[in-house]
Symmetry: C2
Subunit: 310 residues, 2 copies
């Protein structure tokens, strides 16, 4: 298995659960924007083979958790094809972008994946949880993998086509009909309605980015390509002190303090995290379709207010 250094932690966790062991996950390098480097993927495959391992799966990410980066799927698909590897795309976060004619190019190449994971409960805001696993396979693979043929639950002598029964194809036994939420939402909003939701999220993220650039005391981590807007709030006492040796260390302590203050105030909830060599920065994910420009302004004003004495 190979996946980028910035892939979701569920990849290693899954390897542990399946008994493969986390050492079986090879970490592929990502560029400065968080995208997997296909040349390094190729290198890792050769290295693994040289060690006698048998690579079988590559996990690309469409929309990483922190930076919202999209791996170059076409190039990764080429590598998978050359080496006969299963190509999985973790599009849990970014998969919904496919609904937008304007932005779907971020996922170019996803049609070559063997499997795709997608969470409509993220960007489309379907109720938790609503996860889809999309497969090229048409041989009833999930049934082959998960079927337990428990005759006391999955009766075969029914009056309709039992191939329609999904109970024996899934991991769980008792579970909710999660797909119903997606179906109802899609029927209610239409493809165009969902597209508007995605496009609006991109537009609002862009607005936030431009406002951040206008304000003293806010520094973008990088220009986002998705709706994850990553930035530092630099409080008054640290402004212009970039050359100070303890600048990064002191800046990293700002986000936790502001988070505490906003939680106690009850005004906002914005995540923060360190990332690689970068100290704690805020990650505002602009996804909720009810958000407006006024909310973005409030967010920045509130951070300024909460951090004015720092």
């Amino acid at each position: 298995m190979g996946s980028s250094v910035l892939c979701h932690y569920s990849i290693k966790k899954g390897a542990a659960f399946l008994g493969l062991g986390t050492d079986s996950v090879r970490v592929v390098k990502a560029d400065e924007r968080g995208k997997m480097i296909p040349e390094d993927l190729e290198r890792q495959i050769s290295l693994a083979e040289a060690e006698g391992a048998v690579p079988f799966l590559v996990c690309a990410t469409s929309g990483t958790t922190v930076l919202g980066a999209f791996d170059p799927l076409e190039a990764i698909a080429d590598v998978c094809q050359r080496h006969g590897l299963w190509m999985h795309v973790d599009a849990a976060w970014g998969g919904s972008v496919l609904l937008s004619q304007t932005h779907r190019n971020l996922l170019d190449g996803i049609q070559r994946a063997d499997s795709v994971a997608w969470n409509p409960h993220k960007l489309l805001t379907a109720g938790l949880q609503c996860s889809a696993l999309l497969l090229q396979d048409t041989s009833n693979l999930l049934k082959h993998c998960h079927g337990s043929q428990a005759s006391y639950l999955f009766q075969q002598d029914k009056f309709y086509d039992v191939a329609l029964d999904t109970g024996d194809k899934v991991v769980q036994c008792g579970r909710r009909v999660d797909c119903l939420k997606l179906w109802l939402m899609w029927k209610a909003q239409g493809g165009q309605g969902l597209e508007r939701r995605v496009d609006q999220a991109f537009a609002l993220a862009r607005y936030l980015v431009e406002e951040i650039k206008k304000r003293e005391g806010f520094v973008l981590v990088m220009e986002p390509e998705f709706v994850n807007v990553c930035f530092w709030f630099v409080p008054p006492s640290l402004r212009g002190k970039q050359e100070s040796p303890d600048y990064s260390e002191r800046l990293a302590k700002v986000a936790p303090i502001l988070k505490e203050r906003m939680v106690k105030e009850g005004s906002m909830m914005i995540g923060y995290q360190p990332h690689g060599t970068r100290g704690n920065f805020f990650r505002m994910v602009v996804a909720n379709p009810a958000l407006t420009r006024a909310d973005m302004d409030f967010l920045l004003n509130e951070l300024e207010r909460l951090g004015q004495d720092l």
Copy 2:
């Protein structure tokens, strides 16, 4: 791993998922009421050890899916103690019986288990899904097993005790706060309210059993000890034909036909299944607290009506 022949199919499925392989699950014999035979468990452990295997877990069941059987936990705990094995109790279905002073003796010995699985979404009718894993361990075992320390999600520099954060202890990442349903229900109903629910289910199951005994054309599979009432409906054309060589075969075809008719009619939904050498029989699970004796009467009348021409 060892579990009874009547344990839930999730045991084998779990072994497959974890990479242990289904062959690592030893099937222990059950008696005619569906209860694990502790002597056979001991025998299976010795056999496994003789083959060089290292047994590590015994899974007992409190409330099997079909018959509602409770394994003899004290005797099983003795075996586990003698051999130093982890004792897990799958009390998904029967665990709620602990809330009843009258019936909790069915689970005598469960206090000796290392782990217990319990689904309040079953007998207590909490909304799907609401599953609890109870552990004797106080060393933060789930964190040791599942923790991934994804620094971008599970920040440690918070203003409160991060030991309270459960995110890194569970299998999933994004998930609902399932325990809230249980907490709210418990607060609303109280321990006594939930006890009444359990006791009422037992009482109503008892009523159904007695009514079944009074009617021609209904045959109990066995006297239930729980709220699973298993029975055959014997249609007019098969009554008194028990000695006929094709009796069992013809009787097994009755339940699927009646199920089809009740589904198309929209009047009821009762499960049926074959079980061991027994052909298809109905399993009425009396759990819904809104059920009344009138519903039990309707159930039997409706089966008679739907099956009168068979």
